[in-house]
Symmetry: C2
Subunit: 330 residues, 2 copies
């Protein structure tokens, strides 16, 4: 079968099915990070690819921002397990035409975030390649029991951190300037696209306090990533469109009705999690401590109801669960 027909998730599912769960593997393929036993403890492992022409375009991004983002997106995967990022391995395929200064700019981007977040770059590999690609592997500590995608229950509330869709609008803005946006709003959206914030403290707190029962980071778009939780937890979900947290910049660019980028935009790197109804007030209080907005956007329902988004009149919004599948033809 052609990969373009099987798709990225089909391929991952095939690999997962044919891979035995080995000794010491608490959690293998299929979540934000793996959770494995080491000789005397356990750690979290995650890996991400960033490929020129697929994940980024050097027309729209500086190498500094790309370095920063490389680390941020991997940190976000560790955050989604409730872990703490620790060690980075970085492998780069670099076009021979690059100057060493270009590569150093990329590493400066990595370091600027690594220093702030206590991550150490400890190794990797480099080679010449036709176009730039970055392969990162991040090791995280798991001080609390990691939160998987599979623990949500019918009746649980659904939450997200931060605001949604800013990054996707930032990317749109890069390609097509908008006259109706203030400079400040434009800067905000671009920064959300280039310098996503991994919600490490929020993730760790939700794990420590045993508040999140299932968690994922939003990299492929809210609907697609919620679908991952639904499948792993064998539940359905109802979202209330009007509750989706939108930034002022989002509202002024997309208008009050346009939730498309918030629902399916991708690259938000916010946390999406499910929690018991009885923990509502504890979660509300958490916002203040963490200094991160946490918004309740929906409810977990039985799997047979699938995924639904309701507008303010209670009407179903139709959508097809799309998002990024790098193999599928569009």
């Amino acid at each position: 079968m052609k990969l373009s027909r099987l798709g990225e998730f089909g391929l991952i599912e095939r690999v997962r099915r044919t891979t035995a769960q080995g000794r010491g593997v608490n959690l293998g393929i299929g979540d934000d990070a793996a959770w494995v036993q080491t000789r005397s403890g356990s750690c979290l492992l995650t890996a991400d690819l960033l490929i020129e022409g697929v994940h980024f375009d050097l027309k729209w991004t500086s190498l500094y921002a790309l370095g920063h983002k490389t680390l941020a997106v991997n940190m976000s995967d560790i955050a989604a397990m409730g872990g703490t990022p620790a060690y980075l391995l970085l492998s780069l395929g670099i076009p021979a035409t690059f100057e060493s200064e270009d590569v150093e700019e990329f590493y400066r981007g990595i370091r600027s975030l690594a220093l702030k977040s206590g991550v150490s770059l400890v190794g990797g590999d480099t080679s010449v390649a036709k176009s730039l690609f970055i392969s990162a592997c991040l090791v995280g500590d798991a001080p609390y029991r990691p939160i998987t995608r599979g623990g949500a229950q019918v009746g649980d509330d659904i939450y997200v951190t931060g605001t949604l869709g800013d990054s996707a609008l930032g990317l749109r803005l890069l390609k097509r300037k908008s006259p109706k946006l203030t400079q400040r709003a434009a800067k905000f959206l671009l920064s959300r696209h280039h310098f996503p914030t991994a919600r490490v403290q929020a993730g760790a707190t939700l794990a420590r306090e045993k508040l999140a029962r299932a968690m994922i980071d939003i990299s492929d778009g809210l609907l697609q990533d919620l679908d991952h939780i639904c499948k792993a937890s064998r539940i359905g979900a109802v979202l209330a469109e009007e509750t989706l947290p939108l930034s002022a910049a989002y509202r002024s660019l997309a208008g009050h009705d346009g939730t498309g980028h918030a629902l399916a935009g991708g690259e938000d790197y916010e946390l999406l999690f499910c929690a018991r109804r009885r923990d509502r007030s504890r979660i509300e209080k958490l916002q203040g401590h963490l200094n991160v907005p946490i918004t309740r956007i929906g409810t977990c329902v039985p799997a047979r109801y699938g995924m639904t988004v309701l507008d303010r009149k209670g009407q179903r919004i139709s959508f097809r669960a799309r998002g990024h599948d790098h193999f599928k033809q569009r």
Copy 2:
């Protein structure tokens, strides 16, 4: 500066110099693997890139062999620290024209070696790419104190496991058949090229018995990898050409005088290590236990003498320390 002038090792050195040694990092950039503290123990981390058109050519290798080799070369890095391979993260850039069966053949190659060696595939990433590339990250246990490249002393003996140069001759054979070789000899050389053996048990035993004072795996060619030990240990080395361990197939293809492939061929994935003179008999005995040839090929000398290879008449063989530098123009 153009990367082609700076070179791969120049680039790594620049990155190493500008990267702070973080908390918990026992050993960072610059050895076969990093050695880091986790919450309650320590582990080894290594990463390798394999890029189509740079590291392999699908004309010469099957995807099954490529999968097997991907894991083997990473295991070899862990072996060179005296560690035990445990968890694999695998990121693939795959051309859209690939069939899912191609990808599955690759994973079968991975699994065949993973099962034998107790390694679990726990995650990674996949994406479409213009040409095939593989980025692997392997986590290893460190049951004994890891052996770095930097512990050799003047007067130590220099050893290698197995035989040298077979893999390079195997690659030559793929490109240009040789009529003077028996089918069995050809098969041996090709197998050494396609299915290298990571010397995990030998490495772990040398670490457990505290026999190896410095160790590296030979991936770039004996001379270049010995040069890494010399630089890290601040020593020089004298090798006796006639002691280099050559297989029967090597001798029949290259002739008794041709040690070029053994000295600089690359992709041997044998262990090169230095040990005290007083441990000679213990190391000799080890061969039998391990069922792997271990050959003494030289001596560590003061750094000012550099690296020398002597022929059987005691004459210096001239060579330039070459090997694989993926950025340098040849």
